[in-house]
C-alpha cells in the first residue's frame, strides 16, 4: 500500500473522499503540488516604470548596429527588409553580421565584452516583487512591494529586464518571453514539485518544511491547456534535485527562511537554477493552489547565458540586445563580490504558481498493484495477437 505519510494531497475533499487524503495525520498534514507557472517576476506599473523609455525593438537596434558598422543606410534598410528570410532572400548574411558585431568580428553572444555597451534602459520605478535579501530597508536599489508595502525589496534582475518589451505585460497576462519559455518547458522537462510537510492548520502553522523537487514524469495539460491538477508524480530520488526549506504559514501565506534552492531545469531556459539566500512567499488558495514569489540571489552570468546561448534567435525574437543585457546585469549585480569587487550575483524574483498533485516517492513504488484482471481483459492481448493471426495457425 501507499504509505500515507509520503503521499501528499493538498486539497481535503469533503465526505468519504477525505479518506483518500493524508488524513492519517491528525496533527500534521502533508500537501503536494506541481508547478503550473514559473516566470521571471516583472512588476507592471505602466510608464512610470521606465522613465527613460522602453528599449528598442530588435529591428531598431539592429539598424543602429549596421549603421555603426559602416553599412550605408540603404543597404542597412535592405538587409532589414530582407529579413527574416523572405522568399528568395538570403538571411544568413544578416545573421552573421549581427552575431559578429564585436571587435574584430568576434561572436558577440559568447564574448559580449567584445562589444561596447549600447546601454539598456532600466527600471526606475518604485515597486517590485521580491524579498529584502540583504536586510537593508533603505538602500538606493530597494523597491517597495506593491501589495504589502514592504520596503527594502531587492530585485535588480527586474531592474535590468523590466523595460524590455518582451518582459512587460499588464496582469493578468504574462510577459511574452516568459510565457513562451514556460509553454515549451512545461512540456519538455520533468515537472517541478513542491511538498509541504507539517501543516497543522492550512492558515497558520508555525513550523513547516518545504521540499522542492523534480519529478521523474512530465506534467500534462488539461482541456484548457493549463497544467492538470491532482495528477500523481514520482519525486526524483537524486538528492541533488531536492531543496529543503523551513518556514511557517501565517494567515494562509507560506514564507520560508533563507536557504539555497536548486532546481534542475532545461537547457532551453537554463540547465540549473541555483539561488542563494532564497525564500518563498506563497499564498495557499482556498482552491488548493499556491501562488507567489520565489526570490534570491543568482549568478548573473548564468542568467545572461540563458538568453545569449540561443544567440541571434532570442536577440531578434525577444528584442534582447545581448551586449546591452550583459553590461546591465554586470552593472546591477548586487551580491557576492569577487576579488576585483565585481558582484557575481544579482537579486531576482520569480513568479510561482502550483496546483494540487500527489507527490510519490520511490519507496512507495515497491508494491505496484498492476491489474492482472486488466491484463486479461485487454482486447489487444490475444493469444494469437502476433503477426499472422489464425492464418498463421494453419501451419503453412
Amino acid at each position: 500500500m501507499i504509505r500515507l505519510h509520503s503521499v501528499t494531497r493538498p486539497l481535503a475533499l469533503a465526505g468519504g473522499l477525505a479518506l483518500m487524503t493524508a488524513a492519517g495525520h491528525a496533527s500534521a498534514e502533508t500537501r503536494g503540488y506541481v508547478v503550473s507557472w514559473f516566470g521571471v517576476s516583472t512588476y507592471y506599473g505602466g510608464e512610470s516604470d521606465c522613465p527613460d523609455g522602453l528599449n528598442p525593438m530588435s529591428t531598431e537596434f539592429y539598424k543602429r548596429e549596421l549603421l555603426r558598422l559602416g553599412y550605408p543606410e540603404a543597404e542597412a534598410v535592405k538587409l532589414l527588409k530582407d529579413f527574416p528570410g523572405n522568399p528568395g532572400q538570403p538571411d544568413g548574411e544578416y545573421i552573421k553580421i549581427m552575431g559578429t558585431r564585436g571587435d574584430k568580428k568576434t561572436n558577440v553572444y559568447a564574448h559580449p565584452e567584445s562589444s561596447y555597451d549600447p546601454g539598456l534602459h532600466e527600471v526606475h520605478g518604485k515597486f517590485a516583487y521580491g524579498f529584502n535579501l540583504d536586510g537593508k530597508a533603505d538602500s538606493p536599489i530597494s523597491f517597495t512591494d506593491p501589495d504589502t508595502g514592504e520596503k527594502g525589496i531587492k530585485n535588480q534582475y527586474y531592474r535590468t529586464l523590466g523595460c524590455i518589451r518582451s518582459f512587460r505585460a499588464p496582469p493578468p497576462a504574462h510577459p511574452t518571453l516568459a510565457q513562451a519559455q514556460w509553454d515549451v518547458l512545461r512540456d519538455e522537462m520533468p515537472a517541478w514539485l513542491i511538498q509541504i510537510d507539517g501543516i497543522t492548520d492550512p492558515k497558520n502553522s508555525d513550523n513547516v518544511t518545504v521540499t522542492i523537487t523534480k519529478a521523474t514524469d512530465h506534467a500534462s495539460r488539461d482541456a484548457t491547456g493549463a497544467i492538470r491538477a491532482d495528477m500523481s508524480f514520482v519525486s526524483d530520488p537524486d538528492p541533488r534535485t531536492h531543496s529543503v526549506l523551513h518556514g511557517k504559514i501565517k494567515d494562509g501565506v507560506l514564507t520560508t527562511e533563507p536557504a539555497d534552492i536548486r532546481i534542475i531545469a532545461d537547457p532551453f531556459l537554463i540547465p540549473e537554477f541555483h539561488w542563494t539566500k532564497a525564500q518563498l512567499k506563497l499564498k495557499m488558495g482556498d482552491d488548493g493552489s499556491l501562488k507567489g514569489i520565489l526570490g534570491g540571489y543568482h549568478d548573473w552570468y548564468a542568467l545572461y547565458w540563458s538568453y545569449a546561448e540561443s544567440g541571434w534567435v532570442e536577440e531578434h525574437s525577444a528584442s534582447v540586445d545581448m551586449p546591452a543585457l550583459y553590461y546591465s546585469l554586470k552593472r546591477n549585480a548586487d551580491a557576492y563580490p569577487d576579488a576585483t569587487g565585481q558582484n557575481t550575483a544579482i537579486s531576482t524574483a520569480y513568479e510561482v504558481e502550483a496546483v494540487p498533485a500527489f507527490v510519490l516517492h520511490t519507496d512507495d513504488m515497491n508494491d505496484k498493484k498492476v491489474s492482472d484482471a486488466g491484463k486479461a481483459a485487454q482486447p489487444q492481448q490475444r493469444v494469437e495477437a502476433n503477426m499472422g493471426g489464425w492464418l498463421r495457425k494453419l501451419g503453412w
Binding site: 521523474t216 488539461d222 491538477a229 491532482d230 495528477m231 484482471a373 481483459a377
Partner: protein
C-alpha cells in the same frame, strides 16, 4: 427432467471438475421449451470487424478509416445490427478499408507469413497458390467453407487481376478486397435447417451456430477449432456444442465477450459524440473518455470474469482500475506512470461501483451540468430494462437549466420546482430520485459535496426501497429484483441479435432462476445460454406472428431527450 448424471457419464473421462463445469451445457434439464425466433442477418459492428481482422491476419495489420455508424434497437446495437443495411457511402468506406487491409496483407513484410505458397512466377497467375490462399482465408472471413462457385470466381478474378497488373500479389490483393467487400463477410447471415430431433422445428445450421457462439462468447469470428467442429458435424449434437462452449468459456477470451456485451449494454458508442465544456470541466477530455470506458470494462472483467463474482456486485465493488489521468479526475494517487493500476477504495467511499465511475455519470449528463433526470432514465433503462417515456414536446426546461438561479442552488431544488408542472411529474418521480442519488458526481465525474455552496442531499427511494446516501442507493440497486432479470434478457438478446419473443418468456424466467441459483455468475449464465437449445432454435415460417417482442426489453431506440 433433470438428469445430472447423464452429462457426468458422457464426460466422465474429463474428470469430475470438468463434468461439473459441463453440467450446465446440453441442458438435459427442466428448462421450458421454446419455439425460437427468426434467423438474423446482422451487419458486423466496427469493433467486430476490427477484431476479425486482428484475429485472422494478426494485429500488425492496421484497419484504416471509420465505418457507417451502428444504430441501437431495444437497448442494444447487437439488435440494431439486425436492422442494418449498407448505404452507398457506407460501402465506399468498407471498400477503402478493405483496400488498406489487403495492401498490407500482401506487402513484403507480411506476404511470406500470410500467404501459404509462392507463385511459380511472381508476374504470372498461379491458380494453385491462389486457391490455397483463398480457400483458407475465405473460410475464416466467411465463417464457413467457400462454395465451389465462390472459390472458382474469387480465384479467377485474382488471376485476371494478376494478368492485367503483371503481379501475382496484386491479384491476391484483389481477392482479399473482394472477400472483405462481400456481404458474406460484412453480414452474419444465419441459416436454419430442420431439427431432426424435433419434428416440425428448425435450428441453426452448424456454421451459423459456430458464428453465434463465437461472437457471443468471444466477440469475434469462429476460430479454427470451432470451424473444424462445424465441418465434422459436431455442432449438431448437444455434446458437441457443450464441448465447444466449455472450451470457449474457460478461455481468457471470454473476457472479450463480456466486455463486448457491456460495451453495447452501457451504450459506450455514445462517447463518440460526448462533449464537456472545458471551462467548467477542465479535467475532462477525449483521453479521459477513453480511459473511463476502459476503467469500467476492467472493473466488470475483474468482478465477473477474474473473480467470477456476483453480477450485482458491479454496483458496489470497491476494486477499480485507474490510470494517472483518471486518478486526477478522482483525486486519487496512481503509482504507475503509464498503464493501469488496481485501486481499492476504502470502506464507505462513495466512488465504489460502476454507477459513479466517470463512464456512467459523464455519459448521462449535459455538457455543462449533471442531469439527475438523464441519469435516472439511463439507470432504469440500462440496468432495470424499464422504458421511460420521452418528455412531451412543449416542456419548459428553463428552470432546470438555470444552474445559477439564486432561488434554487441545487439540482434537487430546481427539479423540485420543475415537477410541479403536472405533465412532468409522473416521469420525473420515476427518474429523479434515482439520478439525485448520484448528484455528488458532476458532469465529468468529479466529486462534489455542494452545489452553489449548498449541500447536496442524496437520500431518496427507488421502487419502495429507501436509501440515505449514494452507497445506500447502490445497495438498493444491488438488491433490486429487476437487475438480474434485465441482464438475462439483455444478454440473450445480445447473443441472438433480436428481442426475446413472448414464447421465450418462460424460458428466460427459468434462466433468471438459474442465474440466481448460480450466485449471479455471468460466465455461468453465458455458458447456460450458449449451451441451450433455445439459443439456436429457429421459428418455423408462419409462426413469427406469434413472436411479438417482450415489452420489457425495449430501451435504446428512442432519442434521448430527457432533461
Amino acid at each position: 427432467m433433470v438428469m445430472l448424471n447423464k452429462p457426468a457419464r458422457i464426460f466422465g473421462a474429463l474428470g469430475f471438475a470438468a463434468a461439473i463445469a459441463l453440467a450446465g451445457c446440453g441442458q438435459k434439464d427442466d428448462a421450458p421449451t421454446t419455439k425460437g425466433g427468426p434467423v438474423s442477418l446482422r451487419r458486423l459492428t466496427e469493433p467486430e470487424y476490427r477484431q476479425i481482422i486482428a484475429d485472422v491476419f494478426g494485429t500488425t495489420i492496421k484497419v484504416p478509416g471509420r465505418f457507417q455508424p451502428d444504430t441501437r434497437d431495444n437497448g442494444l446495437i447487437a439488435v440494431g445490427t439486425s436492422r442494418e443495411s449498407v448505404a452507398g457511402t457506407g460501402f465506399e468506406e468498407y471498400d477503402l478499408t478493405a483496400r488498406g487491409i489487403a495492401a498490407q496483407v500482401v506487402d513484403e513484410a507480411h506476404r511470406d507469413t500470410l500467404i501459404p505458397c509462392k507463385p511459380a512466377k511472381a508476374t504470372e497467375r498461379d491458380d494453385a497458390c491462389a486457391t490455397q490462399f483463398v480457400t483458407r482465408t475465405g473460410r475464416l472471413l466467411f465463417r464457413r467453407p467457400l462454395t465451389k462457385d465462390e472459390l472458382a470466381n474469387i480465384v479467377n478474378d485474382a488471376g485476371d487481376s494478376t494478368a492485367k497488373l503483371g503481379n501475382f500479389y496484386s491479384g491476391i490483393e484483389s481477392s482479399i478486397v473482394g472477400m472483405l467487400d462481400s456481404s458474406q463477410f460484412l453480414f452474419r447471415q444465419e441459416a436454419s435447417i430442420p431439427d431432426a430431433d424435433n419434428a416440425g422445428q428448425r435450428k441453426l445450421d452448424p456454421y451459423s451456430k459456430a458464428s453465434r457462439l463465437s461472437f457471443f462468447l468471444w466477440d469475434t469470428t469462429p476460430d479454427l477449432d470451432l470451424l473444424d467442429a462445424a465441418d465434422k458435424g459436431e455442432l449438431d449434437s448437444d455434446a458437441g456444442v457443450a464441448k465447444q462452449v466449455d472450451r470457449m468459456v474457460k478461455s481468457p477470451r471470454l473476457a472479450s465477450g463480456v466486455r463486448a456485451f457491456f460495451t453495447d449494454m452501457l451504450g459506450f458508442d455514445g462517447f463518440a459524440a460526448l462533449q464537456k465544456d472545458p471551462q467548467i470541466y477542465p479535467k475532462y477530455g477525449s483521453a479521459v473518455a477513453v480511459d473511463a470506458q476502459e476503467q469500467t470494462l476492467r472493473t466488470l472483467a475483474d468482478v465477473l470474469v477474474t473473480q467470477n463474482g456476483d453480477y450485482r456486485d458491479i454496483f458496489t465493488t470497491r476494486r477499480t482500475y485507474l490510470t494517472r489521468l483518471l486518478g486526477s479526475v478522482y483525486a486519487v494517487p496512481v503509482k504507475v506512470s503509464t498503464g493501469w493500476e488496481a485501486h481499492d477504495y476504502p470502506e464507505g467511499d462513495p466512488r465504489a461501483g460502476i454507477l459513479t465511475e466517470v463512464s456512467f455519470v459523464s455519459l448521462h449528463s449535459h455538457p455543462g451540468r449533471s442531469s439527475p433526470t438523464i441519469r435516472g432514465k439511463a439507470l432504469r433503462e440500462i440496468f432495470l430494462c424499464q422504458k421511460v417515456p420521452d418528455p412531451p414536446g412543449n416542456v419548459n426546461f428553463a428552470l432546470v437549466q438555470d444552474t445559477k438561479n439564486p432561488a434554487f442552488h441545487t439540482a434537487r431544488a430546481r427539479l423540485g420546482a420543475h415537477i410541479n408542472q403536472p405533465t412532468c411529474a409522473g416521469c420525473h418521480k420515476i427518474m429523479d430520485p434515482v439520478g439525485l442519488a448520484m448528484e455528488n458526481f458532476d458532469s465529468a465525474g468529479g466529486f462534489r459535496s455542494t452545489e452553489n455552496d449548498s449541500p447536496i442531499e442524496t437520500a431518496g427511494e427507488i421502487d419502495g426501497t429507501k436509501f440515505s446516501d449514494v452507497n445506500g442507493f447502490k445497495k438498493a440497486i444491488h438488491d433490486h429484483p429487476a437487475v438480474p432479470t434485465c441482464l438475462v434478457n439483455r444478454i440473450y438478446s445480445f447473443g441472438t441479435g433480436r428481442p426475446a419473443t413472448k414464447d421465450e418468456a418462460e424460458w428466460l424466467n427459468y434462466q433468471v432462476k438459474q442465474f440466481a441459483a448460480s450466485g449471479y455468475k455471468v460466465p455461468e449464465l453465458m455458458r447456460r445460454i450458449a449451451g441451450s437449445k433455445a439459443f439456436y432454435r429457429v421459428s418455423t415460417p408462419g409462426t413469427e406472428a406469434n413472436n411479438a417482442k417482450l415489452s420489457m426489453a425495449g430501451t435504446g431506440s428512442q432519442k434521448e431527450t430527457a432533461k
